[in-house]
C-alpha cells in the first residue's frame, strides 16, 4: 500500500494559527504572556497583583480561559479591560480560541496582554497560543514534585514563578529538589520566588515584565 512520508508536528494546524496571533500582537506592539498553572496555584492572584502594580505605567488587558466568569470579575475590579474566553469545558486554551478573542480588545491601546490559561499542568502545554512568553506559576501549596510529574509544562516554560513563598514555614517543600527538577528540564530558566499575597519577591518579577514590554515596544518601532 502506498505510504506518504510526513514527519511533521501533530500540532501544526494550531501552530499556524499561533503564528497569526503573534503577527497581530507584534503589529500592535503588544507583549503577550501566557500564564499557566495548576488550579489554585494563584494565576489570578499573580495576575491581579501584577496589574495593580503596573496599571499606572502600562496599558494592560487580560483574557481569561475559563468556564465561569468569577476570575474575570476579580480581574475587572482592577479596572483593566478583560474578557472571558469560555472554553466550554475544554481543559486548555488553544491558538484558535485566542485569535477569536483578540478582536474583543482594542490592541492599539494595549502594551501588555495577560492571558490566563485554564488551570491544568498537562493540556495547556501542548497548545502554543502565539503569545511571546510562557509563564508557569508553581506554588508551595501544591508540593515540590511537580517538575517530575509534569515535565512538558516545565520544559515549555520561558519563566517560572514560585508563588506562596510565605507558606514555606507551614509546609514541607524541598526547594532544592524542586529546583533540580526544573534545572534538568529547562536549564537556566528564569525563576522568581514570590508571594502575590504579601508582595514579597514581586518587584523582581515586575522588573522582568517591564523589560520585556520595553523590548517589544522597541521591536515594533524599529
Amino acid at each position: 500500500m502506498p505510504e506518504i512520508d510526513i514527519v511533521e508536528n501533530i500540532m501544526d494546524a494550531n501552530d499556524q494559527i499561533a503564528a497569526r496571533v503573534r503577527q497581530q500582537l507584534d503589529a500592535a506592539g503588544v507583549l503577550g504572556l501566557n500564564l499557566m498553572a495548576s488550579p489554585g496555584a494563584g494565576k489570578t492572584s499573580v495576575l491581579t497583583a501584577t496589574v495593580n502594580a503596573l496599571k499606572d505605567e502600562l496599558r494592560l488587558a487580560a483574557l481569561d480561559g475559563d468556564v465561569h466568569p468569577v476570575d474575570v470579575e476579580k480581574i475587572a475590579r482592577t479596572g483593566i479591560p478583560v474578557e472571558l474566553i469560555n472554553t466550554g469545558g475544554d481543559c486548555h486554551l488553544d491558538a484558535n480560541k485566542l485569535i477569536h478573542a483578540l478582536p474583543t480588545l482594542d490592541l492599539s491601546q494595549v502594551d501588555l496582554l495577560l492571558v490566563e490559561n485554564v488551570g491544568n499542568l498537562i493540556c495547556p502545554a501542548a497548545f502554543a497560543l502565539g503569545t511571546h512568553f510562557n509563564v508557569v506559576i508553581a506554588s508551595i501549596a501544591e508540593g515540590d514534585d511537580k517538575p517530575y510529574k509534569y515535565p512538558a509544562m516545565y520544559r515549555g516554560a520561558d519563566v517560572l514563578l514560585l508563588n506562596k513563598i510565605d507558606m514555606l514555614q507551614y509546609q514541607e517543600f524541598d526547594l532544592d529538589y524542586f529546583r533540580h527538577g526544573v534545572e534538568v528540564l529547562n536549564p537556566g530558566l528564569t525563576f522568581f520566588p514570590l508571594s502575590a499575597r504579601t508582595g514579597e519577591g514581586l518587584p523582581a518579577w515586575l522588573d522582568w515584565v517591564r523589560a520585556r514590554v520595553a523590548e517589544r515596544r522597541a521591536a515594533s518601532e524599529a
Binding site: I4, I6, V7, I10, C123, A126, F127, P151, A152, H180
Partner: protein, 113 residues
Amino acid sequence: MHELSITQNLLALALQHAEPAGVRQITTLHLVIGELSSVVDDSVQFYWDFVSKGTIAEGARLHFERIPAAFRCLDCQTEFGRNDRYQCPACGSGHVTISAGEEFFLKSIEVEE
C-alpha cells in the same frame, strides 16, 4: 480532555498532505509519541473516528509508536529511563539531560490512490 483538539489538528495535517496528492482514502496514520510529550492515550482513536467522519480519512487506523523517556548523565554518559529524582543511577550525578521522549509527530500515512 485535550484529545479531541489533538485529533482535529491531526486530521488537518493528514488531509493537508493527502488531498494535494489525489489520495482516495487514508487507511493508516503512523504517529510517534514520546513519553514526555503531551498525553495521548488510546481514547484518541475514539475521537478520531468521530472527527474523521465524512472525510477521506474516515475509518483510518491510528498506529502509535511510543518512545520511552530517556535521560543521559553528562558526567558519566550513562543512558537511563525516567526516575523520580532525575538522577543518574550509575554515578548519582544530578547533572543529566533529556535524550528522548519528546517526540510528537505524524510520521507517515498509508493511502489508497
